[in-house]
């Protein structure tokens, strides 16, 4: 899978369709055949009005639910016909999630939350995992909050922990569903800047669902969905 520039793509979508309630009278198609690619290391916004299918597309790409039709490859591997186990492995190895409502595990401390993807992957936390988690929390400016439970952190802090968590296994792809959706402008800018920083520094491709045109404008590219169809794919000039 290569994009126009010849770089191998991290995501490739061909004729991706998604319907809900298949086989029932209320069957509705949400995505009507999406063709799109995301290059390795690309920083891309996914925009569109509410109900246009952005979150659904993100879930498909995140291998959280299967497409009804079409071909989806992630990290060069076709996902057609893979069983749940194989999808879980693929997801765990290559994809990091940042959700809108930060979705940390409330029973765990910030540090443990950041280590969790590593604990899942390795079975038990290693010293290396701990070092990485310390490092990441320092990078998002939360060194002094490492041992606080998720519920003791502010919204912006929680989202920063979530970003650190998404990066804990250095995934090739980060999927963010309105990561700044419920934050004030100032905090939203911080979070966005953090994502961008990690993208540049580590080369993780980002696909960010956002409503905020200001933030979308700061991405390499914008993919716009309208009513489950690809409306536009615009490259944005790199801001100076």
């Amino acid at each position: 899978m290569t994009d126009a520039a010849g770089k191998p793509g991290i995501i490739s979508m061909r004729g991706l369709r998604k319907s809900y309630g298949v086989g029932t009278p209320v069957e509705t198609e949400v995505l009507h055949g999406i063709d799109a690619d995301l290059a390795e290391g690309e920083f891309c916004a996914l925009i569109g009005p509410s109900g246009s299918g952005k979150s659904t597309l993100l879930n498909l790409v995140g291998l959280l639910e299967p497409p009804t039709a079409g071909e989806l490859s992630v990290a060069g591997q076709s996902t057609t016909g893979l069983n749940e186990q194989a999808l879980t492995v693929l997801r765990g190895r290559h994809i990091g999630f940042v959700f809108q409502f930060h979705h940390l595990l409330p029973a765990f401390t910030a540090l443990e939350n950041v280590m969790m993807p590593a604990i899942i992957a390795h079975g038990v936390a290693t010293a290396q995992d701990e070092a990485v988690a310390h490092d990441l929390l320092a990078r998002v400016g939360l060194s002094s909050h490492e041992y606080k439970k998720a519920g003791q952190l502010s919204g912006g802090q929680q989202q920063r922990v979530a970003i650190a968590r998404a990066l804990s296994l250095s995934p090739r792809l980060i999927l963010a569903d309105e990561p700044t959706g419920n934050l004030d402008t100032h905090t939203a800018d911080d979070i966005f800047a953090l994502l961008r920083e990690f993208n540049r520094e580590r080369g993780s491709a980002c696909l960010i669902v956002t409503h905020d045109p200001r933030l979308a404008a700061r991405c390499d590219r914008r993919i716009e969905l309208v009513d489950g169809r690809l409306a536009a794919s615009t490259s944005v000039a790199e801001p100076a």
Partner: protein
């Protein structure tokens, strides 16, 4: 140490349990109570049963071999003639080839001790007092393994030789004798002998204390006119509930009449069995209730933890491992509940054994906990925990991660 040292499933299961503090406490209380009831009840019933059995079998052989009854047969078998056949009076007889049967009995699996006994009716006379007694000719070393006479001895040792006799405390009182005195014994056939009392026993049963007179086998044989013979063979078995099987095997092997305590005390046996059945019934219901309790709490927990499950799935946790997390929660609740339940049962036994005492102040049961009962209860609790967690765990595993995250 900042880094959690536990493997993923343990870590998450423990945190989930700790987070649902109230629910976890309640269900632990439930499991504790259930395990305690089961252990306490099992222990109590086992002890009461063994006390009852001890009392009944304390002065009785588990299996007794006797000669076949003599029956009258018709000489002519003419169907046209009818005759009333009177049952024959049973005279005191020796067991044919008793040495061989003793050997046969000793070779049976599950047999602990075999003791040939010469027993028959006699009168104990002193002055003008005359008491009807049962004369028992025994080999002390063999017989003490049938009835623990050594523990019943009040005076003297359970040892007979020559014309020595050991009698019960009641008979001694009735005849006004004590150790060192002489008693005149006359058997039903008219043979008699002057015996010297060398020991007194109290078997805990006044009737037996009044009737049993122990002498050597030789003396009893000559008094009862059974030269070289024995009237019955007493047998002790390892497992008292195997007694009827041992008896059946011996009967087939020897051709003699062989009875076990289970046939001579069939009423008691039925009572014991009923008690066991009701105990099992109570246990089953308690197990079911505990299982339902664990199950319902975990079902609720799965719903409450939907979001977390979704997040864990998104981070690369397979549905099997999610299932493992919830099965482990069931197992942990079962295990911890079992530990505290056994502890509670132990405490209950201590308390109840001091409250309930027999007439003479001795505890009705010992406040001891049988390791077997405790371990099996703990094992059951663990298994019930895992089984009860099966439905919630499968539900958690099947949860659609997208739905779970949105919830």
């Amino acid at each position: 140490m900042a880094r959690p040292r536990l493997p993923f499933e343990f870590l998450v299961a423990l945190r989930f349990l700790r987070e649902g503090r109230m629910q976890t406490a309640l269900i632990l209380l439930g499991v504790t109570g259930g395990v305690a009831v089961i252990v306490f009840l099992s222990q109590l019933i086992a002890q009461l049963q063994s006390t009852i059995i001890d009392r009944v079998l304390g002065s009785q052989a588990h299996v007794v071999v006797r000669p076949l009854e003599e029956v009258n047969l018709r000489a002519r078998t003419d169907p046209a003639s009818t005759a009333v056949i009177e049952p024959r009076a049973q005279r005191l007889r020796s067991i044919d080839q008793w040495e061989a049967i003793v050997k046969l009995a000793e070779e049976q699996p599950g047999v602990v001790a075999v003791s040939p006994v010469v027993s028959g009716p006699a009168f104990a006379l002193r002055g003008r007092a005359s008491k009807s007694v049962a004369l028992l000719g025994i080999e002390p070393d063999r017989y003490r393994r049938i009835v623990k006479m050594d523990t019943y001895m009040v005076r003297g040792k359970f040892q007979v030789e020559g014309t020595n006799a050991i009698i019960g405390t009641e008979l001694a009182k009735d005849l006004g004798v004590t150790v060192g005195d002489k008693v005149f014994l006359r058997a039903a056939g008219g043979r008699d002998e002057l015996l010297q009392v060398t020991g007194l026993f109290d078997i805990g049963n006044k009737d037996l204390n009044r009737r049993w007179v122990f002498t050597t086998m030789k003396l009893a044989q000559s008094l009862l006119d059974l030269p070289g013979g024995v009237s019955n063979i007493d047998i002790t078995v390892t497992d008292i509930f195997d007694a009827s099987e041992v008896a059946a095997r011996l009967q087939a092997g020897s051709g003699m009449t062989v009875d076990s305590w289970m046939t001579t005390n069939s009423q008691l046996l039925a009572a014991l069995r009923n008690q066991s059945v009701s105990n099992n019934l109570i246990r089953s219901f308690v197990i079911i209730i505990v299982a339902l309790g664990i199950s319902s709490v975990l079902v609720v927990s799965v719903v409450q933890k939907q979001k977390e499950i979704g997040i864990l799935r998104a981070m690369g946790t397979s549905s099997n491992r999610i299932m493992g997390v919830f099965l482990l929660q069931g197992a942990l609740v079962g295990f911890v509940g079992a530990l505290s339940g056994v502890g509670l049962a132990w405490a209950l036994l201590q308390i109840f054994s001091t409250i309930y005492r027999t007439g003479d102040g001795a505890p009705i049961f010992e406040p001891q906990l049988d390791t077997g009962i405790a371990l099996s209860a703990a094992g059951i609790a663990l298994a019930v925990g895992v089984l009860a967690a099966l439905i919630p765990a499968r539900r958690a595993a099947k949860m659609d991660p997208v739905q779970a995250i949105r919830a």
